[in-house]
Symmetry: C2
């Protein structure tokens, strides 16, 4: 059975979608300028009153990517302050995340499909996975959840984006 | 470099999220019953007037999964009629898709990371990928786009779902 590496199944996926998100924020900024409203108005949008707002969607997308890469590579997870208060600062968070995931050496992923990964939870026992199941059934869907919700919030807010912007 | 198979990076991902979607549709049905509205009212919901409706989101999630698996495995892509007109028929579509992707033998994915994949487009040149880039930069994000938009539509419509339902 020919195969692909855990690095190939994770880092390029995160890096590409994070780059795409930067383009969406550019489009959001241009839309705000054209319609003459403050671009930071996006930050508090929610798809439902009991869903997390735009800012949190981006912060958690970032956390999913950097957490996954660090855990698979056996590195300390970079800590970011979650203090972003403008669209520009959210873009900077995305850029920093992309640069981090791209900086982790391919060799650090060696054996990561079998590495034991433990995810603490706010309540209850921590979740335990091997690296492969963590990547495909937790980190990746979680990442796409917050990425796609970010996109959906912008579409819902009238920002002119399409599937080609989503895929990049 | 230890590695994972193309099958392991695709089929279980699609199968698990399709199973999760079945649970969301059950929750949507229960919500409709509790609030006494026809469950098929969900089918025409859109997040924005220029986005595809609920039914199409599920049909395309299905197409992304079965198209990806068939193309990687070098099989004919199963054709479904896109004639679903009820929530129950959409659930049946999801079940059929899950059963199909699980039915494709692991051995058929041999060498698929390098297989040339051609995706026709409504206008312009077809897209060409090798199997790995097709999986990670086209089929998987496309799948998650439509899966997450389905989830977002249900959340937006008040169906009580949370991240644990999303991840399964």
């Amino acid at each position: 059975m020919t195969t692909i590496s855990m690095h190939a199944a994770s880092v390029p996926v995160f890096a590409k979608m994070l780059d795409n998100m930067l383009n969406w924020l550019e489009a959001a900024k241009a839309h705000a300028e054209a319609r003459k409203f403050p671009a930071d108005n996006y930050l508090t949008l929610r798809l439902a009153p009991d869903m997390l707002p735009f800012t949190k969607q981006i912060q958690i997308a970032s956390d999913s990517a950097k957490g996954c890469v660090a855990r698979l590579a056996g590195q300390e997870i970079p800590k970011y302050e979650d203090s972003e208060a403008t669209l520009a600062e959210l873009a900077e968070r995305i850029r920093k995340t992309r640069d981090y995931v791209l900086s982790v050496p391919v060799a650090a992923f060696e054996g990561s499909e079998g590495r034991e990964i433990t995810i603490p939870r706010r309540s209850g026992e921590p979740l335990k996975f091997d690296g492969l199941n963590y990547l495909r059934h937790f980190a990746t869907p979680n990442f796409y959840f917050h990425v796609t919700t970010t996109y959906a919030l912008l579409r819902h807010a009238g920002v002119p984006l399409g599937k080609n912007d989503y895929l990049g």
